[in-house]
C-alpha cells in the first residue's frame, strides 16, 4: 500500500497493488503565501511514513483548541457556552477557549445556516480526524530518535464537513500546507486502510503528475 500526493494537480493516489484509486486533495500553494495570520506554505515534497489517525488540537488556531466533537452545553442566561472536560466537569468556552456565545452562533450560522449553539464542537479547523506523518530518517518505519511528526497533515475542514452533512457539494480549497480531503473520501480511505501506520506516503513535486 502506497499513497502518492501530487499537489500541483490536487490529486491523491492510493496504490494498493490490486487497485489504483485517485482522489481530489488540495495542498498548500507552490510558494509561500501572504495570509497575515499565518502565511501559507507548500506541502513539502518528500518521502514519509504515515504515523497515526486521531483528533487534533492546537492553540495556534483559535477554533482548534477544542477537539471536534467536544460536548457543549448552552448557557444563554449567563451568556456563555460550556464544554465538557475530560473529568466530566464543565468549563467555560468564553473563558478557556476565547469564544463568546454569539461568536459560536455566528460561526454555526455561517457553516450550517442555523442560528443555534450546536450540541458539540464542530469548529476544529482539522475536522474530526487528522492523519499525521513523519520523515523516517533511519528507515525503520517507527517514529523514534530525532524524528518528529510533520506539522502538515491530512484533514477535512469545518466548511467541508458542514457541506457534507447538509448534502451540499464540497469544493476543496487550498490549505496552509496540510492536505485537504473531502469527508467522504477520508472515510473511504480509512476504510481501505490507506492511513494504516507504517504506510509509505510520497509528496511529489508541484510539476509532477500521476
Amino acid at each position: 500500500m502506497e499513497l502518492h500526493f501530487y499537489p500541483g494537480v490536487h490529486t491523491l493516489v492510493l496504490n494498493s497493488g490490486k487497485q489504483r484509486l485517485q482522489f481530489e486533495a488540495w495542498g498548500g500553494p507552490a510558494s509561500i503565501g501572504s495570509d497575515p495570520y499565518m502565511p501559507e506554505e507548500p506541502t513539502w515534497p518528500g518521502q514519509y511514513i504515515i504515523h497515526s489517525t486521531s483528533p487534533y488540537r492546537t492553540p495556534t488556531w483559535p477554533a482548534s483548541k477544542l477537539a471536534w466533537g467536544t460536548k457543549l452545553r448552552d448557557m444563554p442566561k449567563i451568556n456563555d457556552v460550556w464544554y465538557e472536560l475530560p473529568s466530566g466537569k464543565w468549563g467555560s468556552v468564553q473563558k478557556d477557549v476565547g469564544f463568546s456565545r454569539v461568536e459560536i452562533t455566528k460561526m454555526y450560522f455561517q457553516l450550517y445556516g442555523k442560528v443555534t449553539v450546536p450540541s458539540f464542537w464542530v469548529f476544529n479547523d482539522f475536522g474530526p480526524i487528522s492523519i499525521r506523518w513523519f520523515k523516517d530518517l533511519n528507515n525503520n518505519k517507527v517514529l523514534d530518535g530525532k524524528e518528529t511528526l510533520s506539522g502538515q497533515m491530512f484533514h477535512t475542514t469545518p466548511q467541508d464537513e458542514a457541506n457534507t452533512a447538509l448534502g451540499k457539494k464540497v469544493n476543496l480549497t487550498p490549505s496552509h500546507g496540510c492536505i485537504h480531503l473531502k469527508p467522504k473520501d477520508r472515510d473511504l480511505l480509512i476504510a481501505k486502510k490507506a492511513f494504516a501506520p507504517k504506510t509509505l506516503f510520497i509528496v511529489h513535486k508541484y510539476h509532477e503528475k500521476p
Binding site: 488556531w61 444563554p76 454569539v102 442555523k114 469545518p158 466548511q159
Partner: protein, 231 residues
C-alpha cells in the same frame, strides 16, 4: 425557553397588512403615510418580555438598546433588539439577522446586522437603512461626517475573512487581523491588538488614510484599550 409561535403569528399578521395596502384614495392620505411606514419596517414587534439571551448593550439617547435572542424549544435563536426607554418600558423587535452592533451616526440610532445591512430607528420602528457595512462589523468611531467599522478575522482557518477596518469619509480600507478585542480610536488614531500565532503586535493606524504608523505601539494600545494587551 419560549415558543416562537407568537413570533410566527406576528410575522404572518404583518405580511397580511403589507398585502392589503395597495389602493388608497387621496382622502385617506394619513393612512397612506401610516401604511407606508409599516411597509418600510423590517422588524416585528414582540411581547415586552426579557429575551432569553442578551450579548450586547448600548446606552444611546437615554435609552438602553440590547441585542439578544429568543430561543425556542429546539434551540433555534431568533435575533431580537430590545429597547428599554427612559421611563423603563421595554420594546422588543425581531430582526432577520444577528445584530453585530448598535450605534449612533448622524443623530440616528442604527443597528448593524451580520451581513453588513443596517436598520435605523425611525419613529420607534426599525427600518431598512441604506448604510452598508462590512460583514460582521463593529463600529468603532463616528463623527458628523465619518464612520469607521471594523470586522474581525474569522477564527475558521479555511475562511478568507481575514479582518479589517473601513472608513466612509475619507474612504479607505485596511486589513487588520484582529479577532476578539475590536480596535479603538484614541486621540485621533486607531489602536489595535493583533494576536498572531507566535506573537502579539500592537498597531497604531491613521484615521486619515488607514496607514499603519507603528506596529509596536504597546503603550498606546494598552492605554487605549484600557487593559493590558498581554492578557
Amino acid at each position: 425557553m419560549k415558543s416562537l409561535s407568537l413570533i410566527a403569528a406576528l410575522v404572518s399578521t404583518t405580511a397580511a397588512i403589507g398585502c392589503s395596502s395597495t389602493t388608497v384614495s387621496v382622502a385617506e392620505q394619513p393612512i397612506i403615510q401610516e401604511v407606508s411606514s409599516e411597509q418600510k419596517s423590517t422588524t416585528i414587534k414582540l411581547p415586552a418580555i426579557e429575551p432569553d439571551n442578551i450579548y450586547l448593550t448600548r446606552t444611546l439617547n437615554n435609552a438602553t438598546f440590547s441585542a439578544g435572542f429568543f430561543i425556542d424549544s429546539n434551540g433555534i435563536n431568533s435575533p431580537v433588539i430590545s429597547t428599554i426607554l427612559p421611563d423603563g418600558a421595554r420594546r422588543n423587535y425581531a430582526v432577520e439577522e444577528i445584530v453585530t452592533d448598535i450605534f449612533s451616526y448622524q443623530s440616528i440610532i442604527i443597528a448593524a446586522l451580520l451581513s453588513g445591512k443596517t436598520l435605523a430607528l425611525d419613529s420607534g420602528e426599525w427600518v431598512a437603512n441604506e448604510l452598508q457595512l462590512p460583514y460582521n462589523a463593529t463600529v468603532i468611531h463616528t463623527n458628523k461626517a465619518n464612520l469607521i467599522a471594523c470586522a474581525p478575522f474569522s477564527p475558521i482557518k479555511s475562511s478568507n475573512m481575514r479582518g479589517g477596518c473601513t472608513s466612509i469619509n475619507p474612504d479607505w480600507h485596511i486589513s487588520i487581523p484582529w479577532r476578539s478585542i475590536p480596535p479603538k480610536v484614541c486621540n485621533g488614531h486607531i489602536y489595535a491588538m493583533i494576536s498572531l500565532p507566535n506573537k502579539n503586535e500592537y498597531w497604531k493606524i491613521s484615521t486619515v488614510n488607514g496607514e499603519i504608523l507603528n506596529r509596536d505601539a504597546y503603550q498606546g494600545v494598552s492605554e487605549c484599550l484600557n487593559r493590558s494587551p498581554s492578557l
